[in-house]
Amino acid sequence: MASRKTVRRLALSAALAAAALTLFAAPASASVFGPRAGHSPNADDIRTAYWVAIVVGALLIIAVHAFLIAALVRFRTRRGRSPRRFTAGARAFLRPAVPLVVVAVGLFVFGIVMTTKTREVQATGPEGLNADSDLLAQVNGLSIPADAHPLNINVVGQRWLWRFEYPGGRPGDRIFSLGTLTVPVDTPVLLHVTSTDVTHRWFIPALGGQVDALPGQDVGTWFQADRVGTYHGQSTSFSGTSYAVMRAWVHVVTPQAYKKFIDRKRDDLSAAQDYVARKLGESGTSEAIP
């Protein structure tokens, strides 16, 4: 049975070539074929899952293409050759199902494990801020350990801009910023994502996966930036004319700088409100402005 041997040899060499290609090409090509570097534990988990999935996918692609090309080259019609007219019984047909089942079950279990892992909020790091969780709410799907002191921030999508609301303002007045989110480094940040108009989607590739911003719903996600810097992303849910420019930046700073930022915002807000109140008092109108 020379041909069966050839089949095995071809399959083996294809698999080996694929494995070798992947091994050697992986470090060099990570920057081309992979996501941007992650800077948060959940982003790192996503990257692990991505690389496993993409290597499995690439192996399948290479194996199938190798067999297609081999079949095309080896079994073209030639003078004096006649086809071997064989068909399969159930056993010959089901033999390749075994590795496929193994791959599928493996990926499925791996997927569940990584899903859980990605959603585990971690405790505050040594350089992080222990936020007083004044608006700590149970966030859908996330598991939050007792010793974590996450910073809760509302993320509000509106066409075509993100608005961020921070804790620590005067009662009734939320400190907010537009477009750029400022957070302390090494601190778990819980995001409560919502929208005021149409569906948007929050996505900063370096800081974790996407999450829908739906009007009237509070959808939770989290990240914990591991170093100071600026990360950007943009909405991935089509929202009309200027959808392509609905970008967001996350400015990760030290806890001291974060406190300073919040204080400045609070002072600005107070000053603005005092100004409005004074103007109202001068003009004597009693229009209801809170």
């Binding site: 999935a53 199938v64 050759r81 086809p83 399969a88 996966g209 739906l214 991935t236 849910s237 089509f238």
Partner: protein, 591 residues
Amino acid sequence: MTPPTAVGSARPEVVTEAVPRRRQAWIEKATSADHKSVGMLYIGAALCFAVAAVAELVVMRVQLIVPENTTTDPEIFNRILSSFGVTGVILFAMPLALGLISYLCPLQVGARGVAFPRLNLLSFWLYVAGAFTIFGAFLWRPSEAGFAAMPPLSEPLYSNTHGVDTWIVGTALALLGFVCFAVNLVATLRNMRAPGMAWRRVPLFTWAANLGGYLLLVCAPVMLAALVMLFIDRHYGGVFFDPGYDGAPLLYEHLAWFFFTGAFAFLVIFAAGVISDVLPVFSRKPFFSHRGAMACLLAVAILAPLAWMRNMYTAPIPTAFLVFAMLFAIALTIPIGLLIYNWIATVWGGTLRTRAAPLYALAAIGAMTIGLAGDLAWSLIPVGWQIEHTTAAQGATVAVIVGASVFGGFAALHYWFPKITGRLLGEGLGKVALITILIGLYAYALMSFFAGVKGQPVDIYKFFAGEGLDGYNLVASIGAFVMAVGILLELGNAAYSYRNGVAAGHDPWGAGTLEWFATSPPPIHNFDVVPDVRSSEPLYDIRRAIRDRTEAWRPPAPATVPERPEPEPEPQPEPVGRADSGGAEGGAPVA
């Protein structure tokens, strides 16, 4: 099982009162309820919309060729974007499949017609009406609400022009047509198979078509319901999807994704049917495991639509549901992998005639593998959080849809063109087009995929410099242009060959299925005699019976001529171009 009879009554009878008045040819074509005529209308219209889809793709890729391009206004881009998905899937890919199904399935099962011929014709005109509604809106102001018109964006508060209405009505008309088509298809295949054509003997293309019919019956009404609800929201004060009144935008997403996943599965199953019919004929081998492939196709048809929430991993859905979606999406690996194994095993050990049809079929396997492997990666929930709604998901989807409907569709066209027109579809130009599309598609799909992995969202009208996306988009755009050139080449090839192709004879490929038993093109009643089917390759049985009878007869040999040695009865099908089928003579039931 009564044996069919070709014997009419003994004496002549007057069977008609009047000869129908002849009408102009185009009126005949447009109003004929013959399933072959309807099939050709579907195929022709679908190929026209292929040109439209290619044009739209080129406009969008020109805009995305360099960062922060200003060639196209965002509004114009969004209008093209909003009609592109419908054009590509509902106006091109699915009708092309439906046309081939309408033409071939009755022939393949030995039926002389379809169960509801007028419903079949109606389905075509509903589809055309839908297409005209969608494209007619370009005279005024078409939808700008994205490829699936997701609310709340498509609610009147955010889309207060009638563009979205035309989109809804047009899409709904086309889908209503598809439902009518599916009713007729399922009824025909259930009831009108030839004697002996048990389900286990039905050709795989027809089996795939049957599953596709059921898929349409299940999935298309769901989308129709969603569109009607959206229309009620927009015009009659409904609040189904209005979050301001406790409506649920997510509900529309569920319904729409259920349909789109079903449509996706429909295209994959259609292409699998084509590949399964083409490869054994050209390898000159029986299909590796007919029943195994039937089971795999059934599994794909059941599992794929159930994985619709795979497109919604980012939505606030309880994790258990997402895990179920992941389970179904990953489980699809097994039947699809077995199908690919089946196809390779069918070619393996055979003698593959490298005509355009099997090459397109092999290309379809390759392209769909790329896309489905991408889909497999995306099925993992954490990976989905990273790459869905980015051009990565788009690249994988494009690879599958183009692999299934362009490669699979063109493989079917090359294979069945002689049946439909009596002429060959140009081989040389076909192969050039194949290479062109293959290179273009791989560049386009792979570069889109990796751009998406870097974080480029779908549907954007521009991307920004300095995000490392320039190279990917440049290559993806060039790939899309190359692919467009290839598709147009092949369409031109088909248009030219329709009148000027090489005459092919009735049975150019020596296939084993019943459609080649009729003449090419078939007469209006398909078969003078319906054969009694005894295996999944009935035409081989017929040929063998003919050979046996003709060889049994010997001319009385003169004593002077020495007897020649008996030629070995070869198990091969007849060589190319030999027409031994059709007509009453070949139609004797095989004993």
